[in-house]
Amino acid sequence: MTPEPQAVSATELFRRHAGFIARFVVRYGVELADVDDVVQEVFLVAHAHGGYRPGPAKPTSWLAAIAVRVASSHRRKLRTRAFGRGQGELIDEAASDAPSPEVRAALDGDMLRLHAALRSLAPEHRVTFILFELEGEPCTSIAAATGVPVGTVHSRLYLARRRLRDALGSPSPRAQEIQWTSHDP
C-alpha cells in the first residue's frame, strides 16, 4: 500500500501561488479592488480542505478551480448587497461585460481587447482558455481540477478559441486563406 502523498499546507501554497491566483482572477474578471478578498478566500478554502495533495491536478489548476467558485460567490454577494441598497447603477455595471475604468486605465490596447473578449466567454470556456493558453497549464491538469474528462477540456478550448475569434472579429488564419482563395480571380 503506497503512503498517501503529503499535503502542501495552505500557507505554503499562498507563498508559492498567491501571485498566480491574483493574476488569474484579474484575467478571469475580478475587479482590482476585490482581488485581495478573493485571494484570501481562495486560500482559506484551500486551508479548510487541508491543503493540496499531489495528483493529476497541479496546485495552480486546483487553486484556480477554487478561485472560479470563490469569484462567482463573491460577485453574487456584491450584487445582492447592491440590490439591497437600491444601487441600480452598480447592478447594471455588474451585469455588464465591460472592463472597469481601473482596468481600462491600466491595460494597453491589445491587452484590453483580450481582457474584454475573455469576459464575454462562458465561465467554463474562459477558465479553460486562461489556464491553457495564458498560463500554460496542461489539459490533464485542468481536467482533473475542474472535474471533467480531458476531451471536454479540449472541446471547451476549441469553442473558447472560436468564440474569442468571433468576439474579436478575427477569423482564423485558415479561414482567412479560404476567404482569400475564394476571392482570388
Partner: protein, 261 residues
Amino acid sequence: MDEPRPLSDDDRDPLARLVRHGRGLEVAYDVEAGLARHIAAIDGGAQPWSMTSGGSGWGLGLGLGVIAIAAVVAGWIAMRSPEATPVATAATDDVAVIDAAPVPQTRAFASAAIVPTSTAAGAVAVDEVAPPSGSLPAVPARGLPPRARPVAPRVAASAPTAASAPEQAPSTDDRIAREAAQIRQIRRDLAEGRAAAALRSCDAGDDEFGDGVFALERQGLRVLSLFALGRRDEAMSAATRYLDAHPKGPLAAKIRAAAAD
C-alpha cells in the same frame, strides 16, 4: 489523447498575437501583506475542514460571514483529493461589481494592481502598503481579519526592542508582523538607493527569522541589493541559485531584469 497545441506564433493569426501579448500581464500583488492576513485568519480560528455536519470545527463566535465562506467550502466537502472528485462548473455570473470609489494610491492591505508592461521588469517598486500592526487583529465575524490599518513601521533591524518582554516568546502574529515590516523596510531602502542598509537588513532578517515565512522574499531582495551595490559576481551567483530553485519566485522577474542590465 493528444494535447492540443497552444495557439501558434503565426503572425497571421490575430488571436495568437493577442495571446502572446496577454501572457505578459503582470499583476502586482503584495504577497507579504496578504500572507500575514492569511496566517492571521488561520491562527484566528479557521480550521482545516474537519466537521461533517455539526460545524464543530468552527468557533461559535464566527458568525454569518464564515457561513458565506463555508458556502464556498461546501462545494468542496465531498472532495477527497483534487484528482478524484469532479468540481461543479462555475456559476455563469462571475463579474465583480465595479468599485465606484477610486483606488487610493496607498492601500493598507494586500493590494493588487496591474503592472504596466513598460515597468513590469523594472526596478524594485516601493509598495506603500502599511505594515500590519504588531498585534494582528483577531478574526472578525467575516472569517478574514480586517485589512490592517496603516501604522508606522515598527522594526527594521533584528533585535527585539527592550520594551518587549524577554521571558515571553513573541506570538506568531507578532513575529510575522515584524518580519513583514522588515521586508517592507528592505524594499523601501532598495528603492531609495540605500542598498547597503537593505543588505544589512537581509542579514539581520536571516539571523532573526531564519526560514521564516518571508525567507524567500528576503533571499530575492538580497540578490537585488547585491546588484544595486555593484557586486555583480556575487549577485550573479546568488541570482542563479535563486532562479534555479524558484524560477517563478516572487522576485524572479525583477532579478532576471537586474541580471540582464
